[in-house]
């Protein structure tokens, strides 16, 4: 392990332990803080932190409410050198009692860090006590509409019939019901060709008396943004309902013979209403700024950077945020200025849309990573954005403030320009190109060589041989006859060599004695007989050898004994013959015994 690697490891380890839940935050809000008893309140919880997944929150005691989970959204970002995530949850709370209710702090815990949101107070009033705020009213108004006598009908209205292109038109759909329904009605919206559409929650419910008939009214709003000028027709929505019908029937099990009332569903009934014609006006050509790209509404713009003093090649995150009301999703991208002193990367865009209050509003953030190429003081020029304001019927241009950036240090790309090695101990410098010409080389993978694998088998072979030797030794230790049989050849060869030495030294008696012992010893060891008691006659009586070998062996032993105890004149040539004969006999005995 090199010194640097070791320190990097230690520092990484310390940081690993010391960086729990860095950047973890939580916020919570409600869509309204004064409600009537039974009215729903939407609680929004947003948790953000660094890392791939934000932890789930721990809700406080909400026993004063009925709680329904209504949504969960997770977004992850790996832009600008950081990996962060945001978890957005929403809950629908329905108060069970009147008075001042409190939603306690919502906690979130990651590793050893716990963060919590502020408590939220909600005032719950008696039904019908709240003023005329849309979405919370449950009033009953009485009007007269000629011809309206049906139990169920729908209507749709718009807030303006002559909008500009891109201007919000609020479409209100109402369903009137004077009787009970068998099941929830099924609403089919028309296609809305020529518009982009946004829902405008919440759904309002209230009562209304029309021609002395009491209706329950369900009201749904949508924001429509015309895409082009001219006449556009909004078709009727289709609402399919099944009425709840009561009738009498005879019960065969009723012994008193009286009829009973029962509820049943009617067949499906489709409700429609009048179409609406819009005359969409084009945007005026007069006064259109050069930077106008089609945005309609009311907007502000601001730009921000995460740091204004950096080293060269260090990225800066630059955000341009458009906020206001209008068709946020369709807002055109802002034009970033030319920045020749920076490398510029698109990092993405995010939207935040709030549809409460019957108006589509929110913000759109355009993010870029800008990296200074050289050192110095730089100014990112102001960015302008033009839009058409339908309220004033004029074009407006808004601008960001210029942003000053200080970049210092030496560019990485310059470090390798000339052969340098000057950065200092402990800091690696950018390595210069290799100038020495080298021959082509093949990828060195020793595991792909056959020799590598053959090499790995050698120790296995050694172990197998060792096991075999071990077993053999063990058997020799426990079986005397086997041990003598196995060592017979070795002993006789030793004696044979000894006899040759005696022959060379001229010790005739010793020579024949050793030769005799070599042969007799071999036979005794192979047959596990006592050598000292073994005679030529015993050999003659052996039935383990064939007759020819036996007689040859007996003759040889007899001749040896004669030569040993009564040496003749030609002793040298006799010894040679004896050596040859003994050698052949030993080979023969090795085969046959």
């Amino acid at each position: 392990m090199t010194g640097k690697r070791f320190y990097v490891f230690i520092i990484s380890f310390v940081l690993l332990l010391a960086a729990p839940a860095f950047g973890l935050s939580i916020s919570s809000s409600v869509d309204r803080d004064v409600v009537e008893l039974g009215d729903p309140v939407t609680l929004s919880v947003s948790i953000s932190g660094e890392g791939g997944s934000a932890p789930d929150p721990v809700l406080p005691d909400l026993s004063d409410f009925e709680v329904y989970s209504s949504g969960k959204n997770t977004s992850i970002s790996i832009v600008n050198g950081r990996f962060s995530s945001t978890l957005e949850l929403s809950y629908v709370l329905v108060p069970k009692k009147m008075g001042n209710l409190t939603i306690g702090p919502i906690r979130v815990k990651e590793r050893n860090i716990t963060v919590s949101s502020d408590p939220i107070r909600i005032e719950v009033k008696q039904a019908g006590k709240i003023g005329q705020s849309p979405g919370t009213q449950r009033k009953t108004e009485s009007i007269k509409v000629p011809g309206r006598t049906e139990n169920f009908f729908i209507e749709q209205v718009v807030d303006k019939r002559r909008p500009f292109v891109g201007e919000q038109v609020t479409l209100t759909f109402r369903f009137y019901g004077a009787e009970r329904l068998w099941e929830q009605p099924d609403l089919d919206w028309p296609e809305f060709n020529g518009f982009t559409v946004e829902d405008l929650p919440p759904i309002n419910r209230y009562n209304k008396i029309i021609n002395n008939k009491r209706y329950g009214v369900t009201e749904i709003k949508r924001a429509l943004f015309p895409i082009s000028s001219g006449e556009i027709i909004i078709d009727s929505p289709r609402l399919t309902i099944r009425e709840d019908i009561f009738d009498n029937f005879m019960d065969p099990f009723n012994m008193f013979g009286r009829g009973r009332r029962r509820a049943r569903s009617s067949g499906p009934k489709i409700l429609t209403t009048d179409r609406i014609k819009l005359n969409v006006k084009p945007l005026p050509a007069q006064g259109k700024p050069g930077s106008f790209a089609g945005a309609v509404g009311r907007y502000t713009i601001r730009a921000a950077v995460d740091k204004d003093s950096v080293g060269i090649d260090e990225p800066i995150t630059m955000k341009v945020i458009l906020s206001g009301s209008g068709n946020i999703k369709s807002l055109p991208a802002v034009s970033f200025p030319e920045m020749p002193d920076f490398r510029v990367y698109e990092s993405g865009k995010t939207e935040s849309i709030n549809n409460s209050g019957g108006v589509v509003s929110g913000s759109k953030t355009f993010e870029q990573a800008v990296i200074p190429i050289t050192s110095g003081n730089f100014r990112i020029p102001s960015i302008e954005f033009s839009f058409f304001n339908p309220d004033t019927r004029k074009y407006q241009t808004v601008r960001t403030d210029p942003i000053d950036i200080i970049a210092s240090g030496e560019a990485l790309a310059d470090i390798g320009g000339t052969p340098k090695n000057i950065i200092g101990a402990g800091h690696k410098s950018f390595a210069y190109i290799i100038t020495e010409f080298s021959k082509p080389e093949k990828q060195l993978d020793i595991y792909s060589s056959a020799w590598f694998w053959i090499f790995q088998f050698a120790p296995v072979g050694g172990m197998i041989v060792a096991v075999f030797m071990r077993l053999r030794n063990r058997k020799m230790m426990g079986d005397r006859a086997y041990a003598r049989r196995m060592s017979a050849g070795k002993k006789s060869r030793a004696l044979f060599k000894s006899s040759l030495r005696k022959k060379q030294s001229g010790d005739v008696i010793g020579f024949y004695g050793e030769l005799y012992s070599a042969i007799m010893g071999y036979v005794a060891d192979r047959l596990d007989l006592e050598q000292s008691a073994l005679t030529v006659d015993d050999i003659k009586a052996l039935d383990r050898l064939d007759a020819e070998t036996n007689s040859r062996l007996v003759e040889f032993l007899y001749n040896i004994q004669v030569a040993r105890f009564a040496p003749g004149p030609n002793s040298a040539s006799g010894m040679d013959r004896a050596v040859n004969e003994a050698s052949e006999l030993l080979k023969c005995l090795e085969r046959k015994l």
């Binding site: 690697r5 990484s12 690993l16 660094e50 890392g51 791939g52 992850i76 970002s77 790996i78 832009v79 600008n80 050198g81 950081r82 990996f83 090649d313 990225p315 490398r343 990367y345 698109e346 990092s347 993405g348 990573a369 990485l412 790309a413 470090i415 390798g416 320009g417 000339t418 690696k428 410098s429 950018f430 390595a431 210069y432 190109i433 290799i434 100038t435 020495e436 010409f437 080298s438 021959k439 082509p440 080389e441 990828q443 060195l444 993978d445 020793i446 595991y447 590598f452 090499f455 790995q456 050698a458 120790p459 296995v460 050694g462 172990m463 041989v465 060792a466 096991v467 030797m469 071990r470």
Partner: protein, 251 residues
């Protein structure tokens, strides 16, 4: 007449090709000269010509990486340095410059570690290349074999060779596992690097699918599969998605 014309054309062609043929060493020197003069595009072309002529070695890829780096093509620089390290895992210059090229990537992906033990394991198995681990395995395997032979032959296991054998066994198992891990990462798993300034990582193979993230030049990832014009990739933090093949160079 026709024959003699053909012979003349053939001789001329051969002579011209001989005159204009640049040997590899000259091409190599020219590339270094281009590099020194700041003409990085020409240096890149020269190094690519050498590679095309099958004159391939780790030094060429290292120099190509430097040329890409100085030309501002950081994704391609990462690709070239990694190719150099495939050919020679011990080429320290390429390893150093790879760190420089990686530092230019905008996407700093936080890899949630599996904990202390996992980090230690990753550190230990990442200290050397797979060839070094294989050599270590072979040496300890032979020591282990010799000790085993000795112990078996002697039949006495309660002695110092036995403890040495246990130690050798542990080292051999570790070396083999580390080598297998590094081979899997470096040789068996295909990697890719993003060479465009930015590219969408999507939920599925094609423009119709939702964007999960934007990746930036120099982003490295495993390639798990491919379909038509897209690669299925996995980032180091485990995030999976599809990316356009045109934006990727396979390492």
């Amino acid at each position: 007449m026709k024959l003699s014309a053909s012979v003349i054309i053939l001789i001329l062609t051969f002579t011209c090709s001989f005159c204009f043929a640049v040997d590899n060493e000259t091409l190599w020197d020219q590339a270094a000269e281009f590099y020194d003069n700041g003409d990085y595009s020409s240096a890149i072309n020269s190094y690519l010509m050498l590679i095309e002529k099958k004159h391939i070695n780790s030094e060429i890829y290292h120099n190509l990486g430097n040329s890409y780096f100085k030309n501002g093509q950081y994704g391609r620089a990462i690709w070239a340095y990694r190719r150099a390290l495939v050919l020679d895992p011990d080429l320290e210059q390429a390893r150093t410059n790879l760190e420089f090229a990686r530092s230019m990537n905008l996407d700093k992906i936080e890899v949630r570690g599996g904990g202390f033990i996992t980090d230690i394991w990753d550190f230990l198995t990442g200290l050397f290349g797979y060839n070094e681990y294989l050599v270590a395995f072979t040496v300890t395997w032979w020591i282990l074999g010799a000790l085993a032979v000795l112990l078996i032959y002697r039949g006495n296991f309660a002695s110092w060779p036995y403890y040495l054998l246990i130690a050798a066994l542990i080292v051999a198992i570790f070396s083999a596992t580390a080598a297998a891990r590094r081979i899997k990462i470096e040789r068996l798993t295909p990697w890719g690097v993003l060479i465009e300034s930015a590219a969408d990582i999507r939920e599925g193979p094609g423009e119709d699918f939702e964007r999960i993230e934007i990746g930036h030049e120099g982003l490295e990832f495993k390639i798990l599969g491919e379909r038509e014009n897209s690669y299925l990739i996995e980032l180091e933090n485990g995030l999976k998605g599809w990316i356009n093949k045109k934006a990727v160079l396979k390492i």
